[in-house]
Homo-oligomer: 118 residues x 2
DNA sequence: TATACTGTTATATAATTATATAACACTAGA
DNA sequence: TCTAGTGTTATATAATTATATAACAGTATA
């Protein structure tokens, strides 16, 4: 789901955009050959400057996720979708955490720390 | 566990420092009254400039996590530790993901997307 | 009191990130 | 061919982030 960038998260906007589009590909919501919305539409969706969109698309292109056709649009270049099993594991975990009314930021902090320490 | 900042993650160094220290508090590894390492030691641990450490400590102070005593040091101001149950849920999830040899970056991307969409 | 630790304040410089704005080039369809 | 939509390139400006470096101020202890 492509959504507004969080301008207070500290993470650069162009990286948030890269991450959202990568997520869509990983989750299988954007498949090989799909066309992205136009740059000027993406600019509105993410609520950033056109140059910020361009910077994100440039990075995705350099990493092989998308390709550009001048005058036509941007297209998904490869499928990178992840094993459904992985998604289920994460969905189950997120559901449990939400049951315990933990907030996203705290959850991420602990997730990162646990990951890097075990 | 306080460790070197990742200079290629895109996340500003001072925020990574804030996050690491918050994590230690949330996990109960730093408790009320504990003294942090000195600024000049932290500078070496995180591998950043002293001003970057200061910016992080300033933010933690403004959020009520720590307090300063001039000439003495920085101290944890409150306990914010999280329910052990939460930590167990996350540990279990991380273990399962590692069993499936998924990398950290992919895991975080999916985690964020699942959290924000369900 | 002298010293070696603490934290604090300040200035200058550079790289990165984001914005505003404009113009240009290619493509598809009326 | 004209037009409206694509992507592309460019310039200028500002805010944020990070560095290097120096000096100052408080605390504890030998």
């Amino acid at each position: 789901m492509l959504r507004k960038v969080d301008k207070h998260s500290g993470v650069p906007a162009y990286l948030q955009i890269v991450n959202m589009i990568k997520s869509e590909i990983l989750l299988g919501n954007l498949q090989k050959g799909s066309q992205l919305s136009s740059i000027r539409e993406l600019q509105q969706i993410f609520d950033v400057n056109i140059n910020t969109v361009l910077k994100a698309l440039e990075k995705l292109k350099s990493e092989g996720y998308i390709e550009a056709e001048q005058g036509v649009g941007y297209f998904i270049k490869k499928d990178f979708d992840v094993d459904k099993k992985i998604i289920e594991i994460i969905k189950t975990c997120v559901a449990k955490l939400k049951d315990n009314s933990i907030d996203y930021y705290t959850a991420i902090l602990i997730f990162e720390e646990v990951w890097k320490n075990e």
